[in-house]
Amino acid sequence: MDSNLIYLLLFFVAQLHLPLHAEGDTRSLESVPDLERSMYMIVDGYPCVRLLNLSGEIGCSNPGREKVVAPIVRFKNVNVLAQSSAVLVSLDEIQSFFTRLSNDSKFAKNVAGVLIESGSESQMKLKGFSPVEKFPQAEFAPYRSIHYEWNPIGSSIMWKSYNFPIFLLSQSGTMTLQEVASKNENNKKSYTADVAEFDLVMQTTKSGTHDSESCLKEGTCLPLGGYRGSVWSSLPPINVSSDQSKPVILTVASMDSASFFRDKSFGADSPISGLISLMAAVDALSHLDGFNDLSKQLVFLVFTGEAWGYLGSRRFLLELDLHSEFVKGIDSTLIEMVVEIGSVGKVFNEGVKTFFAHVAGVSSVANETLNALQQAKDSLKSENIMISTANSSNPGIPPSSLMSFLRKNSSTSGIVLEDFDATFANQFYQSHLDDLSNVNSSAIVAAASLVARTLYILASDDKDLSSSALSAINVNASLVEALLGCLLTCDPGLSCELVKNYIAPRTNCPSNYVGVLLEEPSATPYPGYVSDVSRFIWNFLADRTSISKENSASACPKDCRNEGEACIGAELDGKGVCVISTTRYVPAYSTRLMVDESGMWKVMGLKSSDSMEDPVWTESNWDALGLRVYTVQNGAYDRLVLLGGLAVTLLAYLAILVSRAFIIKVLKQD
């Protein structure tokens, strides 16, 4: 009988025609942690976080304290959501998805989480996408037509509150999720599904504080702002001891953008193109001499926090009123003119670069500036540049920092230089898609040239400025290219040479989101709390507007404490250079916030001088934000397995009892 069984076994083995070599799957797991890592796939993504203001909240959050787990479905393949799902949305479907979400409450109830793809093909199909309002920050406008549509493509989806997590996937994450979604659709096994696990637990949701005042009191959120955020620099450096009576021309740009996704907001056209123009203009002017002989003082000002209630400009104006140390050297009564460089990256119109000057204050000063602009343009004959005044049917200036100046003092003269006339040229205003591909470097070079020459004309106040003097002012196009690479890409990003010459950057990818205030503003900032971009701009401007000291470069920052001195490159171990420069940081945070005795942020009452209520933007605290994808068995299968295990155990027990009884019977038979 045994031999028969052996023959049977051999027969079986002989039937095997299978190739007995291991198949190509090269993924070898060498330990249990390896196994766990391959079970749970971590996906790269950019989250949308919970932001609060005085009247409520916007943004996204997990609905409770737990992670959200839901099977992945593709938006284009579902009509009705049968169960709570994580919806995978491609770029060109974003608009229709959010429209469906707001109109169809049954659909919205089953949306547990949203994953938005990135990708260059779908990006090209998309004509435009802007998650902010059609008139961004209309409540700060110095005129009444707040229903004018500067941003007609704006969909306001960023300004709603969502009680589920939304993540933007990176390129690799998109590919992973597309595979997983296909796997789910083709899955023949009914008892498994691939799910996404979202970790977007927000402390304000956990503690039930749903507006800024309550969350600041509980300590579950932090106010938005740049700690040492805004930067200003004077050309030439101000001699504080001498009397300051030269009128001041303020050149303004901003460095922060906003987007639906906290960590992906390059803000290339709006506003970084303006920032880069300002920096290139300062660089061009720095090669000239004789600024002390000019009749006006040039001050360059870069604000942060402008996307969130004009935090930078409004706080700056408040500090000016308070004559605080941050603005020592600027007398607000001496400010004659404000020139703001807005979005200047998209000026092409059939080969001609057309800039638009939006004027505020119909006065002789404004006309003088316009004339200077025309004169500068004329001197740049070869560049094919056109300057036009904005259409008079516009209600006023577009959303810009100049609005804060005008709200404070409606007789301020100012000009905003933009690449658009009646509506934004930027089709991706304040979205994650406003990246390097959305701007043109030659446009920025042109804007910088215009601004540099215009400022020189204005500052010298000389009607018969020779063309040779102007033609000496040239913008370095390779500097503009370098700045584009440093501020608008992740490679090289902030580890580019230009930045590394001044600071030791903490990250590679510049995130132009204003961030939160971790500490109260005080005299000596902890460098860890100042953003990389702010520090870079400070060092850059200080370097360009500086006069070197008589005794050559002394060790910095030890020997650089005198009034009017600045240490450039203080972070670079012993390579700091001490120069004479007036470059200062100005804090940027809400004008209605202060720190009380116990160190907590407090919202102050409305002062009579405040002409409008500041929204006091805050961001919820959070622990860790992440996204994972894995396969899950349904509960029924788990119970089946348990049942199987119990059955096997019990059957074995019964078999043993039967055998034992049998053996005893056999033994007793005698």
Binding site: L9, F12, E23, L35, D638, V641, R660, I663
Partner: protein, 253 residues
Amino acid sequence: MTVIAGIGYALIALGPSLSLFVSVVSKKPFLILTVLSSTLLWLISLIVLSGVWRAFLPLKTTAWWPYAILIIMSIAFQEGLRLLFWKAYKYVEGRLEDILDAFADKVSKPRLFLTDKMQIALAGGLGHGVAHAVFFCLSLLTPAFGRATFFVDRCSQLPFFLISALIALAFVTIHTFSMVIAFNGYAEGNKVDQIFVPVVHMVAGMVTLINLASGGCVIGIPLLYFLAMLTLMHCGKMVWRRLTETRSRQSGS
């Protein structure tokens, strides 16, 4: 997969062993000691083997024969150890009888009945089986208690942990009853039994190589259970034969 499934997998692999322990072993302290020391011994053997092979791992190869060498060598080592285990058992058995003789009046019947000896062998085999299950299945089971499940490309019909538990159950059965057959074979000098055990062990080890092929587990796992059944039946036959022999010898004397 959650805790429920994790417990389920653990029960599939070790449930029958648990039943055996509760119903047979737990009644006699000597058997409990035997199971524990056997488990320890076979666990150490597996650790020694993995220590020796550590230098060659991971086997970055797509061919199957390096795995075959690994298995052949390991099984040969274990079978050698089984012989040593038998020798150790004989030594203890001899000493035990001496001690019992010294303390009691002369009695005519032997101290250890045949069924006692078989139970000791069963406990030894149980220890071997439990060591295999712990080493090859339980040690991987921690992730099974979490939320996710796992499917291997080459055998995507069943979750990985279920496959692991099923294979472990087959081997537990093979090892447990092989020890009974082997001890009987050494005691009687029965060549068939003595060869049967290493051969079945080696064949079972090589059969697992079938799982390396894509979809191979559909054939590999049933084959393993076939071998387990074979072992069970052979053991049953042998026990029946020995018990009836003893009975007829007793009634004949």
